[in-house]
């Protein structure tokens, strides 16, 4: 494939991928009438921060952001901490019942979480974890998909490294912590970022297990503003942008780390 074609293709694909976000960003400045203009608009008729002011008008918003951040950070770290040993054991060790356990983990992928809502609520309630951070995150710490991603990565990896480390006398825990985790940091980062963002954006479960205002999370706060019912589309978009843009920044920072890790590990 010639370089020019490659560049053009990449540019075209990038334009398609970037467009919805850019359009969403633009609409977050739309006034109510801009949405129903006689021709669809690319850009707002005037730059006004009204929508953003509306979206930030909720009195408890900072508290909700804090709660979402705490639960999401905890969830993503714990998910990684649970997934790495599991994927390591399944790929590097041999033991009885290995296939059964792998089967159990894969099976969870196809159990839709909606189905478990009532049951998990009962479990969390009986553990006395309603209205707590633990109650919000506990059911989703384990993720079959995360284990599967690491499983795929570890399988493709070099077993020589493991053998060499063992000859050097490194125990499995040290190997996992000091060699495996940094070696696969792009995958770790992908899992962390994805878990963080999906947790930050979850709505129904945190709503169900919390009652107190001080335990509520961002998405609940956003619906509480009632923009959808009031036809405030611009403010809805602004609210979505307010939670998206920090993630994009996070991703930009994370990307540099991921790529650096990739280069480092390869050139060692």
């Amino acid at each position: 494939m010639s370089k020019a074609i490659r560049t053009i293709l990449a540019a075209l694909l990038a334009a398609i991928i970037a467009f919805p976000f850019l359009y969403g960003f633009s609409t977050s400045f739309f006034s109510v009438v801009d949405f129903t203009d006689s021709q669809a608009r690319f850009l707002p008729s005037a730059i006004s921060l009204r929508n953003y002011a509306l979206a930030l008008s909720h009195r408890h918003f900072p508290r909700y952001v804090l709660n979402s951040t705490i639960t999401s950070v905890m969830l993503s770290l714990l998910r990684l901490a649970v997934s790495i040993p599991a994927a390591f054991a399944l790929t590097h060790l041999r033991f009885r019942g290995q296939r059964l356990i792998a089967g159990i983990i894969m099976a969870t992928l196809f159990i839709p979480s909606d189905v478990l809502l009532y049951e998990n609520y009962s479990t969390i309630a009986s553990m006395g974890l309603l209205d707590s951070y633990m109650g919000i995150i506990l059911p989703s710490i384990f993720s079959g998909a995360s284990v599967l991603m690491l499983y795929g990565a570890f399988l493709a990896g070099d077993r020589d490294v493991y053998d060499a480390a063992r000859i050097d006398g490194a125990g499995d825990l040290r190997y996992m912590w000091q060699i495996l985790t940094p070696l696969y940091s792009p995958f770790d980062a992908a899992i962390l970022i994805q878990s963080f963002i999906s947790s930050f954006n979850s709505y129904l479960w945190p709503l169900i297990v919390t009652n107190r205002d001080r335990m509520r999370t961002v998405q609940i706060g956003l619906t509480m503003l009632g923009f959808a019912e009031e036809g405030e589309k611009g403010a809805q978009f602004a609210a979505a942008m307010i939670v998206t843009i920090p993630f994009l920044a996070l991703l930009a920072a994370g990307r540099n780390m991921i790529m650096k890790a990739l280069v480092d590990t390869k050139e060692d």
């Binding site: 949405f35 770290l77 009532y118 209205d131 633990m134 709503l207 619906t223 503003l225 009031e230």
Partner: protein, 433 residues
């Protein structure tokens, strides 16, 4: 270094997790779960504050309002809570009509009759909407009804009055609609495809009162039989609707109807009276918004519309529960509620007062909704059915098949009857009836 920070973070989070929220339980606190967001949410909070400053203060009771998401989320949460531990339920939950079927079968609700709340001055049609074989299930609170919204500027320009019947609508549709040079319709007379909600009025109003299923639309006992087929009411509706559609100025739009209306691309639509302020805000002065009675299917369809919206379901027999429910439906509260949200005021003591008259005079579109309800047959009630959403979408599909692909009307009625009958039969078997 980076790794030890990571380890520290993991440990910290494990620690933070063990810090749970202790449950505060106060005997004299009345908890109410609600679904009011935005402006409406603020109005609701104000009502709760007013209660705490007046009735609550006098009787040593404190009400606490907790937002629990959209109306359907409140129901999900009530059911999850009831399944885990009934004692965790709030004292009151505000839910909409879709909750009625569930709550009618739930042993953990305290009906308004059992609670002994005063309903003597509540609008009869609002009470009928929640009446059942268990008595009054819940206290009506945020009420609304179906309305015809129309582009008043356009209607005035053409010298047309809003249509009284579907036939009249069909007759004026060509004057309201518009085509471009190529023959494409650029403005429709009406947009939307009726669902269960609209059919509640279109079918319910026929012959003064018609039920869609027996047991008075499922309010008294569990329905056994579909009535809209054998009584010919759905057929009658489809015939008139098809004639209306055949004017080519009706758009079978199932989404974004309000935007089309606001942009002036359809001259009218059907929507709940509770949408009034949103519609006016979205139209943003492009034209004057008018409201009118829902057109009748034919001259004999005089039943009018049913009342929809939400109600206060009680889960405790506390004195405070009754006091709060009575407070929220008192004339003063209902006036404030109507003024700040656009829901109907349902306390009849209010109707003669100067404050209320002034409010109606300032909001003529709103007054139309009130008049329509007062002139409707209170026995026309919404339908309580299992598999309600499936049925909702099935109605749209059949209406579309009849209008767009020329499906035989009797065949459409037949398949609709079998969908609803199927849902009823399954429900009966599943519940051991």
């Amino acid at each position: 270094m980076r790794k030890s920070i990571l380890l520290l973070l993991m440990l910290l989070s494990a620690l933070a997790l063990t810090a749970g929220g202790a449950k505060e339980s106060v005997e004299n606190t009345i908890t109410i779960w609600h679904s009011n967001s935005g402006r409406i949410g603020e109005a609701f909070e104000t009502l709760i504050e007013r209660f705490n400053d007046t009735v609550g203060k006098d009787s040593g009771i404190k009400a606490e309002a907790i937002y629990q998401g959209a109306a359907n989320d409140v129901l999900t949460k009530v059911k999850a809570t009831a399944a885990a531990n009934v004692s965790e339920l709030p004292d009151i939950a505000q839910m909409d009509a879709t909750a009625a079927l569930d709550m009618k079968g739930a042993d953990y609700i305290v009906t308004t009759d059992e609670l002994g709340a005063d309903t003597s001055s509540i609008l009869p049609s609002a009470l009928k909407a929640l009446d059942s074989d268990r008595g009054l299930l819940a206290m009506p609170f945020n009420c609304s009804s179906l309305l015809l919204y129309y582009n008043k500027t356009l209607f005035d320009e053409k010298g047309i009055e809003p249509p009284r019947t579907l036939d009249e609508f069909a007759a004026i549709a060509p004057m309201l609609g518009e085509k471009d040079g190529a023959g494409n319709v650029t403005r429709y007379a009406f947009a939307g495809v009726p669902t269960t909600y609209e059919l509640g009025a279109f079918i319910g109003a026929q012959k003064g009162l018609s039920y869609m299923v027996d047991a008075k639309n499922g309010h008294f006992g569990t329905p056994e039989r579909v009535l809209f087929g054998e009584e010919g009411t759905f057929r009658n509706f489809l015939e008139h609707w098809k004639a209306f559609y055949d004017t080519v100025f009706v758009s079978n739009l199932t989404s974004g109807v309000r935007d089309e209306f606001a942009a002036g691309r359809t001259a009218s639509m059907l929507a709940s009276s509770s949408n009034l302020s949103t519609v006016i805000a979205t139209v943003a002065g492009r034209f004057e918004v008018g409201t009118a009675y829902v057109p009748m299917v034919d001259e004999e369809a005089t039943g009018g519309v049913n009342i929809g919206g939400g109600a206060l379901f009680a889960f405790s027999e506390k004195e405070g529960t009754r006091l709060l429910i009575e407070f929220l439906t008192s004339p003063e509260s209902q006036l404030y509620w109507a003024e700040s949200t656009g829901y109907m005021a349902i306390n009849t003591k209010l109707y003669g007062t100067d404050g209320y008259k002034a409010f109606l005079a300032d909001n003529p579109q709103f007054a139309v909704a009130m008049e329509q309800t007062l002139s409707s047959n209170p026995e026309v009630v919404g339908i309580w059915l299992p598999s309600a959403y499936q049925i909702y979408y099935s109605f749209q599909s059949e209406i579309r098949a009849v209008t767009e692909s020329g499906k035989d009307i009797d065949e459409a009625v037949g398949s609709m009857v079998s969908v609803v009958q199927g849902a009823i039969d399954e429900y009966r078997v599943q519940n051991g009836l």
